[in-house]
């Protein structure tokens, strides 16, 4: 098992990604926030960035669990372990999302700033999608404000504004935006 490592840029947060800092293959371990800063400095896209970086999704508390040493958790459908995921940079199958729900929630939040899907759904269940639930988003906005998570709140505010504008526009042009 890997030992706990700290971001080489800020020296505070746990390192989450490894990035190549030169063509010669030098590597740096960075936390997500410093990694994103580094990424913003370059013109490389976030996706390429994460593809090039080998992702570590073990949170600090995960690493302290001694039982993981002997028996790493594996997906019940495809057998993927978190170590495999780090190497591959890709998830194995739909079931992985259930087996590693907690770890992936954390990773997705680091990448996207959220782990909750609010977009469209496959058609048989596509109810919410055709009428975006602005009321539900408002509730999340208020919750974010209460928790003083202003960054998240601003995101919800923008989202609600976009959706309302989008709805007006689609009503105007008679186009349905799902």
């Amino acid at each position: 098992m890997k030992s706990e490592s700290v971001c080489q840029a800020c020296g505070i947060n746990p390192a989450a990604v490894f990035i190549n800092t030169s063509d010669a293959g030098e590597k740096m371990q960075l936390c997500v926030s410093c990694a994103q800063k580094k990424q913003e400095e370059s013109t490389m896209g976030l996706q390429e960035f994460f593809e090039k970086a080998s992702m570590t999704i073990l949170g600090p508390e995960e690493k302290q669990k001694p039982e993981e040493e002997s028996e790493p958790k594996a997906c019940t459908q495809c057998g993927l372990t978190l170590q495999d995921f780090e190497k591959l940079g890709l998830i194995g199958c739909p079931t992985c999302y259930k087996v590693f729900e907690q770890e992936l929630s954390e990773l997705l939040k680091r990448i996207h700033g959220s782990f909750k899907h609010i977009g469209s759904r496959p058609r048989p269940r596509r109810v919410f999608a055709s009428t975006p639930d602005i009321a539900a988003l408002r509730a999340e906005l208020h919750q974010a404000i209460e928790q003083e998570n202003f960054e998240r709140a601003a995101e919800f505010r923008d989202l609600i504004r976009d959706l309302e504008r989008e709805q007006h526009r689609s009503e105007d042009s008679n186009r349905v935006i799902t």
């Binding site: 013109t43 998830i91 194995g92 909750k116 977009g119 759904r121 186009r175």
Partner: protein, 368 residues
């Protein structure tokens, strides 16, 4: 507007006859390049792609051969009954000749990685090349719509319809919490990547592109080259796309990209005005030199063509040169790419004879 509307060559019989159909596609001008679009003096095309997977089957990278075959069969069958895809070209990627798969990459219908895939996979492409599907790339399904100019709404309307029709026939891997489940966590949620190809020659002449990108593109947007990820900027054409796919609706992703697109448009238009009114001689010099080279060159590499074509396109939009149909400029871009030249013209085997042929084709099209 000066664009001409071209009807795509109709292909009566449905898929299967691989050679015939590939040939048709390789010879035709794609819809996005032959049709007028909003803001198409600056924005060449709009693309939206969706990543989808089938429920209960491992993602392609680790799936077994039989599982990949199952995916191909299910999607292949589903596509046959979808009217939007009739008629369609179906390409078995393992049996596809290298040159043809390269030409499909040049048309942005499949990805470079998929072109080299040696496992079971197909590409399904509708006759106008507005809609295409890759089966068993990084995900079981990659659906894309390419439209002319700035047409995010239309691209979304089309791709969303195709997605709906497919989702009635196959069950997608979807979770209430995470949305569409994808192999790479950077696609989870909506699985949507929306992008525009934007031509910024005036900002480039004024050396203001980097500044514009810094100001306009927040970290949630990516700026890439013409062929997407990991490719160089050629001919002052930039691909701007969203990066975040989870926690926002498709409509929000689209609106945000659209807002940024309009800001880029404003900056480029201001730069064009500035060139016209303050640096006119310098602008004309750039445009006419480029036109002169394209009308006279005997050897022309892809990169050199794209560089000068950018200036000619600018001169054309600003009415500095005798009007050239947009479509001709787009066609020059498409049909002079290496694999296209090799497929469409015999006896082209080495890069040098390609460059000579390219120069000849360009001279013919742009004869003064």
């Amino acid at each position: 507007m000066k664009r001409t509307i071209k009807k795509n060559p109709a292909e009566a019989e449905p898929a299967r006859q691989l050679a015939l159909h590939v040939d048709t596609v390789i010879h035709q001008t794609p819809f996005w390049a032959s049709h007028a679009g909003d803001q198409d003096d600056i924005i060449l095309s709009t693309r939206i792609r969706l990543a989808r997977n089938l429920a209960g089957i491992p993602f392609p990278t680790i799936a077994r051969r039989e599982e990949l075959d199952t995916v191909v069969e299910r999607i292949g069958n589903a596509c046959k009954s979808i009217r939007m895809l009739q008629p369609a070209l179906t390409v078995d990627i393992r049996q596809c000749k290298t040159l043809i798969s390269k030409a499909l990459v040049e048309r942005r219908l499949i990805s470079p990685v998929f072109a080299e895939s040696s496992s079971a996979g197909i590409a399904v492409i509708d006759e106008s090349e507005q809609l295409s599907i890759m089966v068993n790339e990084e995900d079981h399904l990659r659906l894309q719509s390419i439209q002319p100019g700035l047409s995010l709404q239309e691209a979304w309307r089309q791709i969303s319809r195709l997605d709906d029709e497919l989702s009635e026939q196959v069950e997608y891997a979807f979770s209430d919490k995470f949305g569409y489940l994808t192999a790479c966590p950077t696609n989870t949620g909506t699985g949507m990547r929306a992008s525009i190809l934007i031509h910024l020659p005036a900002l480039s002449i004024l050396e203001q592109v980097d500044q514009a990108i810094k100001e306009l593109a927040p970290s949630e947007l990516a700026i890439r080259g013409f062929y997407g990820e990991g490719t160089d900027i050629i001919g002052n054409i930039y691909q701007v796309s969203n990066q975040l796919t989870l926690g926002r609706t498709e409509a929000a992703i689209i609106s945000r990209l659209e807002v940024i697109a309009y800001k880029f448009l404003d900056l480029e238009r201001n730069a064009r005005d500035k060139l016209l009114h303050i640096h006119r001689v310098r602008l004309e010099d750039e445009v006419f030199r480029a036109l002169g080279i394209l009308q006279a060159a005997r050897v022309l590499s892809s990169a050199e063509l794209m560089k000068h074509l950018s200036m000619v396109r600018l001169g054309n939009e600003l009415n500095l040169i005798q009007e050239i149909d947009h479509r001709i400029l787009n066609e020059l871009m498409i049909f002079t790419q290496p694999a296209h030249l090799q497929l469409l013209h015999e006896n082209i085997t080495d890069p040098e004879s390609r460059d000579v042929l390219r120069a000849r084709l360009v001279r013919e099209k742009l004869a003064g």
